[in-house]
């Protein structure tokens, strides 16, 4: 089993990648460089899927690898699943 619940790749990122299936209601703690996050999971996160590290407003850019991976189509709260239901590519 992984020693951490999820990984954050860059300090700029707005999402973490789950390293195990994380259930609604779980409290997870994450670190990247000097930044720490404590997040309450609001929706089940399947293994290797993304979870929001902080609130992302509708139309705001979403960052992973320190780069833009798309835009939020609706408001995403910290601890919510970030995927095709609420995220859209900027390059179609």
């Amino acid at each position: 089993m992984p020693t951490v619940d999820a990984i954050v790749i860059s300090e700029k990122d707005s999402v973490a990648t789950a390293l195990r299936s994380i259930q609604t209601g779980e409290n997870i703690q994450l670190k990247v460089s000097d930044k720490s996050y404590e997040i309450v999971i609001l929706t089940d996160i399947p293994i290797f899927h993304k979870v929001a590290l902080h609130e992302i407003g509708q139309g705001e850019k979403i960052y992973k690898y320190g780069e833009v991976i798309g835009e939020a189509v609706s408001r995403i709260k910290a601890g919510e699943h970030v995927h095709s239901h609420n995220t859209v590519t900027l390059r179609g």
Partner: protein, 385 residues
């Protein structure tokens, strides 16, 4: 650092010594398959093209066939044609012969049908296999290696475990004077600025941006939307949301070396180091393009698992997903999932990948090679007529 390889008369170095049974057209692939099946040491592939093609599209298929026949891993070639196809078998054979390899041709219409063509083809292939078995390996410098970097069936582990490990191995080979080819232009979309920022010079940076713009433009001109095909349904189910996310993970295959050159599909690199090839995101066509470009081996990362191989070159598979490794050990050579499990670092697994590349160059067989897999496709740039 050296490995034991085959020194060819045209200066190239092979890591395998196959006899290639090369079908010039779809119509002769079954005949080629039967010939290859009779001769130990022979390989072939299912050519889906070779006729009903025009202009640049026809030229590309013919150029790829010639490049494969001239490939350093090939000792000798039996060209198997139908006779009336666009990719004229005698002409293809003549071009391959310029590489200095023995080339023979058997043409179904000239031999009065299947049995005559097969008999002749098997006789030629047998003689070549016998000669190949007596060729001796010699010490060759690792700088002679050209390694194709490929990823397929990606999931979010690819971008953080298997691709960075492969990237570390790619950097080690480049530091040793060798060459790696990063391809799949579709999977540069959204990450092209990152690749361009570490290009060796401005010209290479512009070339990287240009191949991405060219792909986006041609897709739009066809009235199509890349979102329909990439990320694939499997990528999305695994947790990859957008093409940008997929691309940012994909380019990690190339490590941190500067890109020294951008080549066209199937074109041979002119420089050593990390080379970028314009190719599609479809694994099969992409690998064939890099093999035509002279890659003697392929390293292939996967998240969801894939069996893909290539008849001419060994394909080493690694996955960043330990569950996939456990499920698909039949097909996967290295588990980079140990990085996410907390057992090893990217650098440690990357060193293992590099060591495995050298073992495979020396003759160790990969799982795709043991199964004899030889998936084949050429990136079309036109439609059939």
């Amino acid at each position: 650092m050296t490995f034991m390889g085959y020194q060819r008369s045209n200066g190239t170095v092979g890591i395998r010594n196959h006899v290639l049974i090369l079908p010039t057209v779809s119509c002769s692939t079954e005949t080629a398959r039967i010939i290859a099946g009779q001769v130990k040491g022979a390989v072939t592939f299912q050519n889906q093209q070779g006729c009903g093609q025009m202009g640049a599209d026809a030229k590309r298929t013919i150029d790829i066939l010639i490049a494969l026949g001239s490939h350093p891993n090939i000792s000798g070639v039996v060209v198997v044609g139908l006779g009336c196809e666009t990719a004229q078998p005698h002409k293809v054979a003549e071009e391959i012969a310029k590489s200095g390899k023995p080339v023979k041709t058997t043409v179904i219409q000239e031999e009065g049908g299947t049995l005559g063509a097969i008999t002749k083809g098997i006789r030629y292939a047998t003689e070549m296999a016998l000669a190949a078995s007596m060729e001796e390996k010699v010490p060759c410098d690792v700088s002679e290696l050209i390694v194709a970097l490929e990823c397929g069936g990606s999931d979010p582990t690819s971008g953080v475990a298997s691709n960075p490990s492969m990237g570390y191995a790619s950097d080690l080979l480049v530091a040793a004077g060798g060459t790696t080819i990063l391809s799949e232009t579709t999977e540069f979309i959204g990450a092209e600025h990152v690749l361009a920022a570490r290009a060796a010079d401005e010209e290479v940076a512009n070339d990287i941006m240009n191949i991405v713009h060219r792909l986006e433009k041609s897709t739009k001109e066809r009235g199509e939307d890349l979102r329909g095909g990439n990320p694939s349904p499997g990528n999305i189910a695994g947790g990859i949301t957008t093409i940008e996310e997929k691309s940012l993970g994909c380019i990690n295959k190339g490590g941190s070396s500067p890109a020294v050159e951008v080549v066209e599909y199937g074109e041979k690199p002119r420089r050593k180091g990390l080379v970028i090839m314009d190719s599609p995101g479809f694994d099969i066509d992409s690998i064939v393009g890099m093999v035509a470009g002279g890659a003697q081996m392929c390293v292939f990362t996967t998240g969801l698992g894939t069996p893909v191989g290539n008849g001419l070159v060994p394909v080493i598979k690694l996955t960043g997903n330990s569950m996939t490794y456990e499920k698909m050990k039949d097909n996967i050579d290295i588990n980079a999932g140990v990085i996410l499990d907390g057992g090893k670092t990217v650098e440690e697994v990357g060193q293992e990948v590099y060591d495995e590349m050298l073992r495979v160059a020396n003759g160790k067989t990969t799982k795709a090679e043991i199964f004899g897999f030889s998936e084949f496709g050429v990136w079309r740039c036109g439609t059939s007529v």
